[in-house]
Symmetry: C2
């Protein structure tokens, strides 16, 4: 396996941002500017309809790099960002917009479309992780986390279930329909975000997905508010979650 091919590099406020591709998949890697020592890696999955450098991604990456000293990688999901849409993508997106305009539930369409994207994205993520671990500043032995809400959870749950290198994950805000069975195979520590007044995901559905994880250590953070009102402080909480678990892993191996 080769390391990622870097296509652009910039830096500001102590963070280096490098665009890369792995097997044609476009991604971005944020890293601490100071120190070439090995540091943990967090893979982040973006939400549906957005992309690898959407504000939620850059904001969370900044917190993780500065608060945790981690590397953070995001790749564009299939049909998102710099990647082409297929005819299937176009049909599903049109179906979603029709449902939204008609005031019909979005859940059934999001669930089936995201499951389709996850089938494609999971092997892409594994190949990307192979490549990132070829970098000397990451390496093959360091802790790896995964952080993805909404579509990031639809892709992340099947990824974490099959990828033993990922040892801690933050998920949230998805329906259990296509994910609960897979979540039952996940035993690594997780933090799970849920909006108590989500107008798309019924409360019982969100709680059922949290309940499905087999992890001995799992924390539900449910906040008052609608689907898009996930509080900013949950990103800080995710940083602390990873710092706690990476630290523990580092200590236990020392």
């Amino acid at each position: 396996m080769h390391p990622p091919r870097f296509t652009a590099e910039s830096s500001s406020h102590g963070i280096v941002e490098r665009d890369f591709t792995v097997d044609g998949i476009p991604g971005v890697l944020w890293s601490p500017a100071a120190g070439a020592d090995r540091a943990p890696l967090v893979l982040m999955g973006h939400g549906g309809g957005t992309h690898k450098k959407a504000p939620a991604m850059t904001g969370r990456a900044q917190r993780l790099v500065t608060g945790c000293g981690c590397h953070v990688a995001v790749i564009d999901a299939p049909g998102h960002g710099d990647r082409p849409r297929t005819a299937h993508d176009e049909r599903e997106i049109a179906a979603l917009y029709r449902a939204r305009a008609a005031g019909e539930p979005e859940g059934p369409i999001v669930v089936r479309y995201n499951a389709h994207l996850a089938d494609i994205a999971v092997p892409e993520w594994r190949t990307t992780l192979d490549a990132l671990q070829e970098l000397p500043e990451i390496g093959a032995d360091g802790p790896v986390g995964y952080f993805g809400i909404n579509m990031g959870t639809a892709i992340g749950v099947p990824l974490v279930a099959v990828e033993p290198r990922i040892t801690a994950a933050v998920f949230g805000q998805h329906w259990p329909d296509a994910l609960a069975e897979t979540a039952r195979r996940i035993t690594v520590p997780i933090e799970f975000d849920l909006q108590w007044d989500d107008e798309h995901i019924p409360r019982e559905a969100g709680l059922a997905l949290f309940d499905a994880f087999a992890s001995r250590e799992k924390s539900l953070h449910a906040n008052a508010g609608k689907h898009k009102e996930l509080p900013r402080f949950e990103a800080d909480s995710a940083v602390r979650f990873f710092a706690r678990h990476f630290d523990r892993m580092t200590t236990s191996r020392a």
Copy 2:
């Protein structure tokens, strides 16, 4: 109103510990050793069967004083710590032990006994707060929080519902039966801890109490584990919760 009567003082690791009484109620006040400036106050309610200096109280107080720069006060609940037990206390405690030994549900006894204790404790807390606010290092204008789990929630919910000086609260791990109606009158920001596998408080009961709060800002932290396995990191989370809200209040008044 007079300030509390201090009966003992010691200090270690940058924290001053002062025993006090207010109207004969014994309490303890922990304060930052450095700086005589006014600082926020957190009132903490201890759990059933314990007392004002139980390890959970001293541990949380240490985190709050050092992490948040707050003053922290705890008083012994009626029938607890240095306070005498009445015949009613003895009967309820005996009933609780009988239920426990017989493997019967503890909930009905805890709910009714804690409600009785709250009737006594709420006015005691308000008088104690009056006295503490007479101290120059606390004052009458500063932010006041409340932090109490288990019996600390049974007493804290009716206290916060009637006490407008308390502007942020951390609760958790109690049944909704005697508290949900009162919780519906609480609108200040809250954080609420619940154990996902609590063997005493059914999951639906815990969620119903969280749901009852009218607060626009409320966060549920539900962790895998049994009743007594509330993770230590939730105490750190409570410190950050108070720091966030105290800071906001200070800023908004500046």
